[in-house]
Every structure is written in structure tokens, then in C-alpha cells.
Symmetry: C2
Subunit: 380 residues, 2 copies
């Protein structure tokens, strides 16, 4: 069996994702689709609107064969690290290819890669965004810049693939997007952005959402407790008011001095939105600040994130019979630890950060995210 | 002007407290009554049912002339440290006497003091209760034990007074208590315990409370947001689930190994009451465990508490014209810093722990506890 890999968030799964999945299978002719999906906390530094189990169920219902969790210490990171975590997992899982959506799939990513100086060092400059550093270098050597988020992420896949021995064939495809608008659902389109769908869901605008998502997604959105930053603001607020400055300083992606701004703005902030508006400055993007807020909420220190990144693992969230057979086929050659359930030792050590992230997420919907959970076995 | 001191919590102020105040004035013939009162967090390791400003207002209405806050780093401590903080403040404020209620005011506290070996060292044994250590020593030398809480606290006042140069005359008086019951209000009595009153207040049993408190207390209980541990449980729960074990270990009064028990029991606890029942063991009293929970909630480390205890201060919460005149009279001889309002520097340094404690308390009732607050000037 040959497998095609996808790296996703499915927040929530919509028609654009369905198209991506169908194309990935069609273009590669793979027997099995393997999806690496962020867990409960996402790359934009926010909680998933639906928990990882619900999103796994939706992925399996949409035809994904095997769903693997991208651990929180990669999922909540800047693009180049998010890409690295995903590519490492797909490589370990023996996938032949990685199919990704890009705004400009015709870009010659390989050529861009060789045009650039080898920029491993740039990965360490946490205080400028990777995108900025990358584009500065690219501009200097080729006169081009990558301004679109998914083109940029695509390039990061190439970079990561090089790090892991170029064992994946990378296949860019055209990203389907909403006509005219990323922030609103357009009535005449079957595609809308996740942002637009989440906004409509929090307003319970179900009739708007219906044309742009599978029926199962709509069902889940209508019946589950939808989670947003507003739910977690009381905890973040408490933590910023209470934690010592030395401790706040240690949180992942907290740039020098930003801990003072976070603590000071928490004094008068009245909501998460208000807090973000207060901490925002020209120097940092909202996404960056949200990732720092996520690290503060989960009390993830940069030291523990870096240690964890050196010990990636394959955490299985769900599969259908095809996915199960594939997992069985590659199990013996798997180069990373394989976890299908959590125990006391894993909760405290190997899976400690994901467990913690799940406990905090579960404070709102009351659903255990790890204890007593087994991979979803989807029978179709 | 001569002043009599009292050390109180007024949680909430009831007829027993009124009696204590009247007796203190009558017995000493003092011109001015100075009350050192715990702020928003109390010696039993719990939030005050009414905030410190409401309780100050009630104290002034009851006839107290000057109200001073016992800082959180003394208020939430075992009896010998609670006593030390209060005695230090009354001594600094030039009070002539300290009148306290005891179960057995006839005890010869002076003699008990001399009968004991000088037990300064015992103060440092955080892991056995002071009461236990004290009674073991007392039993060995005199054959007696002090089993009643207020007798014990009274003895601690003598001990503290010795530390501060015996500048207060200590006056034990008979404590008025509820007939037959500490846990329930007895219909035929004008006295009830704070515990019984708080229990009745959370059940809104106003007619039961009316005979045992001043009218102003009843008014405040009926109209203010009453705060209990249940309100703060979500924050404590979050913190215990999220904080690193090394950090949890550093909280004040956290005995060796107790941090593991706290974190482990937080995994499955469903409420503060349930949590306390799970962490309870023969080794620790509920009160002790509640104090540790308070330290964890406020993220007070033993290091910062000990540093703060070496830098006590006089924080004025309220006064009437007599109290104001007294304050004016002694101001120049005051041996501790005097604070009547908070500023940015005090918020970050001198008053940082009280400020933090007030911010957490204020998360529930939405009332600023320090910023923009001035002492209450009571005109009668």
C-alpha cells in the first residue's frame, strides 16, 4: 500500500478540505490517505472550535483513512516549525507524498530553495517572524517574495523535507478559496474560509454554513459546545495577574520584554479581544501574539517545547480499515514511538504537554481529551 | 490619646465581635480602638465572605476608630505567624494593650511562657503544626495542653509580644460563643459563630442571622456578592492542572511531597469541597490544607512570603475622626512604612502580594480592591 500525506487543522472540516483530500488521492493514486491534524490548539494560537475527537470523526467520515495528531509543541508554532513537525510525522509514517494547497502552486519551490542561502540559523531568530527573515533573503537573491500564507507554508514543507532526507514527494495543488472574500461566506459559492465559517457558527447562521461544509460538519457545529478564546480568557487573565514575571518570561515565543506588556495590559483588559487590541503593536502580528497567549495559558515554556520537539511521536486519533491495515504494514519500520492510548507514565512524561493542553481545553466542554480515549475506529 | 488594639477577621462582623470591642474599651479605658483586620484572605485559608472594604465599613459603623489591614503574608499563616504580624502592627502603632478573647482567659499565659523552653526554632518546623509541637513541649514541662483555638492564639500573642519587646499589655477576656453549637445558629442566643453565620448566609437564611449580627452586617450580607472557595475553584483547578511540579512545590506551606498529592487529586476533583476531601489525610488539618490551597491560588511562594514578612507595613483601610487624630498623633514615631493608597511602584514592589491577592479576589465581585481606593473616612 502506498500512502499520501496531508497536513491539516480542519477547523472545521469544510468543502475546501474535501476537495483537497479528493485531489490528493486522485493526483497521487495512493491507496491510503494519512492526515496529520493539529489537536485542540492551532497554528494561529487559538483553541479549535471543535475538539480533536470530533474533528477526527469528521475527517474519517470525509474519507481520510488514518488521522494522526500533530502534538501541541508543533501545532502552536510558526509556519516553519509547524511544517517541520508535520513533515517529520509523514516521513516517519512512510508516506510517499505530501499534497498541499497553495495560492500559487506553479511556483518553482525547488528553485526557491536552492536560490536561498541555507538559512538554518534564521530558524533561531524568534523575535522576527520567519516570514520576514525569509522574504528579506529571498528578495535579495531572487527579487521575489512569497506573500501568501499557503505559498509560504508550502515553501516550509520543502525546507522541512530537505531536513528529513527528501523522502516525501511534494505536490502543490491549487487552493480552492471563497470567491471574493476570506472573511464572509458568499452565497453563490460552495467554498468558504474556516474563518468565515467559524464566525457564522458563533452567530448560529446555519443556513449560511450549510452550502460550504459536509452535512456531518454542520451537525457537529450545531450540537457541540463550540470553543473560542473567550472561554479561556478567565484562566489566561488569572494567570497573567498572578504568575511571577520571571515565569511569564519563560513562556514559549515570549519575546524579550513582551512579558511586561502582557502582564501590564492584563491589569485593565476586559476580554480576550480587548486584551489582544491592547498588546498589539506594529512589531508583532496578531497571530504571533495569540500564539504567545496560548503558551501562557498552557504554561508552555520555551525550554519544554524545544525538548519536546526533539522527541516527536505518532499519536493515533482514528482510522478506518484501510488506515488500520496501513498502520499495521508500516508499524515495524516506524522510526518514532507509536501511541494509541495514554497511561500514567505517558501522562507525566512522553505525552505531558499534549495531556496538559487537553486538560485545559476540556475545562470548557467537560470532555476528557486523553484519559480513557482510544482511537476512533471508523467502519464507514 | 491611648489606644487599645484588637486583632480580627470580622468574617463577618457579628455580636460576639461587638461585645469584644465594647469590652476592650471598657476594660482598658482607652481613648481609641485600633483594629488590625485580615484583608480578603483569612487565617483558615479561605476568601472572606465580604471584601475588606465592606468589612472595614462595618467595623467603623460598629465603633472601631482605626482599621489597619493585616497583610496577606501574615493573614493566611499559622497562628504563631498570624499573631506575630498583628502584634508587630499594634506595637508599631503605639497601642498600650491588646485585648483578645479566649476560651479560658484565666489561664496564666505568662507562666506558660516561662515554663516553655525558648522555642524560636520550633517556628521553622513547617511540616508539623505549631500547635502540635507546642503542646508536646508544654505537656513535657507542665503536664498541660492548650486545646482550644483561641487559648492557643492567645498564647501566640504572648510569644509575639515577647519578640517585640513586651510593649503591649495583653488582656484576655472571656470569649462569647454560641450556646451549645459552633456550627449552627441557636434561636435563643444573640451570639453565633462566624462559621454558623456564613453557612446561614449562603443559604440566605436571613431571619436566622438577624438576631446575632448588627443590622449593617445583615444589610451587607443581603446585598453584596458573597464569596467562597467555590468561586475560586476554577482558577485553582486550572493552576494545579497546568503549573509545573517544581513551581507547585515552591508555594508557601507546601510540605515535602504534598505538591504531588495536590496535582494528582486535581485531576479528578469536581469541586473545591471534593478536592479537599481527596487531599485530606491524617497528617494535615483541613485548615492547613486550605492555607496551602490559598497559597497555590495566589501563587505565593514561601520565599516571597518570608521576604515580605521581614518588611511589614501599616496599610490604613479606614478611620473615624478619633482614629484619624490618633494616626496623626503617632505618625512621626511610626516604625513601619505607612500606606494610605497604592501607586505603580507599590503595586509592583512594597504592596505586590496584597495587590495580587486583591486582584484575584476581585475577579469574582468585580470590585477593585486596591487601585483607586482610599481609606474609608467614617463620619458616624
Amino acid at each position: 500500500m502506498q500512502a499520501v500525506g496531508l497536513i491539516t487543522e480542519y477547523n472545521p472540516l469544510h468543502n475546501g478540505h474535501l476537495y483537497h483530500l479528493q485531489q490528493a488521492k486522485a493526483v497521487t493514486g495512493a491507496d491510503c490517505s494519512v492526515v496529520v491534524m493539529s489537536g485542540n490548539w492551532l497554528q494561529r494560537g487559538e483553541p479549535a472550535i471543535l475538539d480533536k475527537w470530533t474533528r477526527t470523526q469528521l475527517a474519517l467520515a470525509a474519507g481520510v483513512d488514518l488521522v494522526i495528531e500533530l502534538p501541541v509543541f508543533y501545532a502552536t508554532q510558526p509556519a516553519h516549525l509547524f511544517a517541520r513537525g508535520g513533515v517529520e510525522l509523514l516521513t516517519a509514517l512512510g508516506c510517499q507524498s505530501l499534497v498541499f494547497g497553495a495560492e500559487h502552486p506553479g511556483l518553482d519551490f525547488e528553485q526557491l530553495l536552492t536560490a536561498l542561502p541555507k538559512t538554518q540559523a534564521a530558524f533561531k531568530h524568534y523575535n522576527a517572524t520567519y516570514a520576514t527573515q525569509f522574504n528579506t533573503a529571498l528578495q535579495a537573491t531572487t527579487g521575489m517574495t512569497l506573500t501568501k500564507a499557503n505559498d509560504m507554508l508550502g515553501f516550509c514543507y520543502y525546507l522541512a523535507n530537505e531536513q528529513f532526507g527528501r523522502r516525501l514527494q511534494l505536490v502543490p495543488i491549487q487552493r480552492q478559496k471563497a470567491d471574493h472574500s476570506e472573511s464572509q461566506i458568499v452565497a453563490t459559492s460552495q467554498f468558504a474560509s474556516g474563518t468565515a465559517i467559524r464566525a457564522a457558527a458563533t452567530q448560529q447562521a446555519w443556513s449560511q454554513i450549510k452550502p460550504v461544509v459536509p452535512a456531518a460538519t454542520l451537525d457537529q457545529l450545531r450540537t457541540q459546545r463550540l470553543q473560542t478564546w473567550a472561554d479561556f480568557w478567565p484562566y489566561l487573565h488569572y494567570q497573567l495577574l498572578t504568575g511571577a514575571i520571571e515565569q511569564t518570561h519563560q513562556y514559549d515565543q515570549m519575546a524579550e520584554g513582551l512579558e511586561y506588556r502582557f502582564k501590564e495590559m492584563a491589569q485593565s483588559a476586559t476580554s480576550f479581544t480587548d486584551f489582544m487590541a491592547r498588546v498589539k503593536s506594529k512589531r508583532y502580528t496578531y497571530t504571533r501574539l495569540q500564539r504567545v497567549a496560548t503558551a501562557a495559558l498552557l504554561q508552555l515554556t520555551s525550554a519544554e517545547v524545544q525538548t519536546a520537539q526533539a522527541h516527536n511521536y505518532v499519536r493515533v486519533l482514528g482510522f478506518n480499515p484501510t488506515g488500520q491495515a496501513y498502520l499495521h504494514q508500516i508499524k515495524k519500520q516506524l522510526e518514532l514511538p507509536l501511541y494509541t492510548k495514554i497511561n500514567k507514565d505517558l501522562r507525566r512524561h512522553g505525552l505531558a504537554l499534549d495531556y496538559r493542553a487537553g486538560r485545559i481545553y476540556g475545562l470548557i466542554n467537560g470532555q476528557s481529551q486523553d484519559l480513557y480515549r482510544r482511537p476512533i475506529q471508523f467502519l464507514g
